[in-house]
Every structure is written in structure tokens, then in C-alpha cells.
Symmetry: C2
Subunit: 139 residues, 2 copies
Amino acid sequence: MVDLQPDSEVIRNLRAVGLRPTRQRMALARLLFGHGNRHVTAESLYESAQRGGIRVSLATVYNTLHQFTTAGLLRQVIVDSSRSYYDTNVDEHHHFYFEDTGEIADIPSDRINSIVPTDLPDNMELSRVDIVVRLRGTA
Amino acid sequence: MVDLQPDSEVIRNLRAVGLRPTRQRMALARLLFGHGNRHVTAESLYESAQRGGIRVSLATVYNTLHQFTTAGLLRQVIVDSSRSYYDTNVDEHHHFYFEDTGEIADIPSDRINSIVPTDLPDNMELSRVDIVVRLRGTA
DNA sequence: GTGTTTGCAAAGTGTTTGCAATTTA
DNA sequence: TAAATTGCAAACACTTTGCAAACAC
């Protein structure tokens, strides 16, 4: 698996959002943004890092996920009341959540025209559709 | 505030789902189902109980929420990745989630015809709409 | 009386934080 | 070298669990 992002680009992207390009942040940025969309938890990203031989603490993974989210590089996905998931796709879109495995997949936009999609992944049945309209007080 | 449910009815309803009508379960059932729809967390229900002079432990509140959910009397609402909310309305419907206060309100069904409701509560603005299509493996 | 349920306290899980050591600019 | 970042371990919030005492039937 080739990593197409040169250091300079990763550095530039981090600087662009006001974050110092430390070894840990660069490595995590590569894992997250180097190969298409990902859906991660702190734990899963930490494991990816370990497998990739990246020395980084779990605390730093948590901090980095928050910083990237605040910077708009990641978006939190709420599908489980006991774990936080993060999505590298920050565009407006929705998700399949596989209850059995805890995995998440983007719903292709052409399938979400009706709220309840009729075209589900193979061997999967609908558990339920959750729609949460999140509000905040006006300024 | 009058409690319209006679003991016999609460007992019958609990028995109907295979749960012994203990003092704690009856009292929690009254709190939950006695006065229209409620959206609770373990902590909020525990506080309601305390305010109402009901002696029940937090552990029992957790256990009871699970039992009621398994029995189909409650439904879990996933809006926060660190707390579990339960809704006494188990019919298909959706929610407003007030990020500032952590409160939940049902979305009146006539407002959810378009995915993004145009008619929001006063002084509230849209943070975002989360749609999660929850799937499980076929049998 | 027998099996179920409760309450407590301890343990568990995911997450955050204080702070000294390290790294970046 | 000044400020930001890291990693560790301790602290945290929420939730679950083991087990003896209390309760329901």
C-alpha cells in the first residue's frame, strides 16, 4: 500500500488548521486521510497506529481526534451510546451502522432519497432508522 | 398531580411482560408511564424517584431500564455517545435533541415529512440532522 | 420455602486531565 | 528558550456485576 501524500502536504494541511505538525499528528493524519474515507474510534485508530509501528499514546489519539474534529477535519458520528466514532468524510451524508460488528459505512447518496432505503447491503435487514435533528440555542 | 393508574393495572402490565411487580418496578413504572411520554436517563429517572420519595438504588434503576427495554416497554434513543436515553414512546418516531441542555423532545409527526424540518422550536437553530440506518445480519 | 430481586460496593469501560519530560519553532 | 505537545498514571463519568440480605409467590 503506497502512501501518496508527501510530508510537505500533510504539514501544510495541519498548519492550515493551526496545528503543529508533530510526528504523532502527521502519522495519525496519514492513517486517517491517506487512503479514502475511514470511520474510526479512538481504540481502532490506536490499533491501526500500533500495527503500523507508530509510537503514540492512547491519550494522544483521543486529543488528536478532538483537535481534528474541532478543526473540521473529522466529524463525530453518533451511533452508539458508549463509544465515539469519527468519520473522515465531513460532508453531509448518512450512515449504515452494522449493529453486529459495530462497523459503519456511508450510505451512497443516491440511496438516501427516501428516508427508509429499500436497497440494503446483502444479508442485512433493517433494525431501525434513527433520525435525530440536533438543535442548539440561537446565538 | 393525580396518579390515575390503579395498582392492579400496573401489576397487570408488569406481569404481562413477565416481570414480578416489585415495589421498585411498580414505582418506576408509575413514574415512566403514568403521565404521558417521558425521555429519561438512568440518572434523571433516579432523581425523579428520589424527589418522589421512592427508595430505589441506582443499580436497580439501570436494571429496570434494561428489563423494560427488553420487554418492549421502552426504547433506547441514541443521541449522545456518553449517556443512554430511554423513551416511553416506542412507536416509530424521531427526535429533537437540544444539545445545550441534553433534553429530548419528540418531533411531531406532521413535521417530519421532509427530512430537514423547516419548522423548528423557537430560538433554536439547526445543528445537524443525523440519520442512522441501523442494520443487523439476516437471521 | 424457593427462586427472584434488590442494594451495596467493587469492578469495568471509555474518556479526560494534571503534570513532568520532550519536542517544535 | 518559550510555548506547545506528549505520555503516563490518576481521575472521571457512566454502567455493569457479584453476592448476601430481602422479597414475592
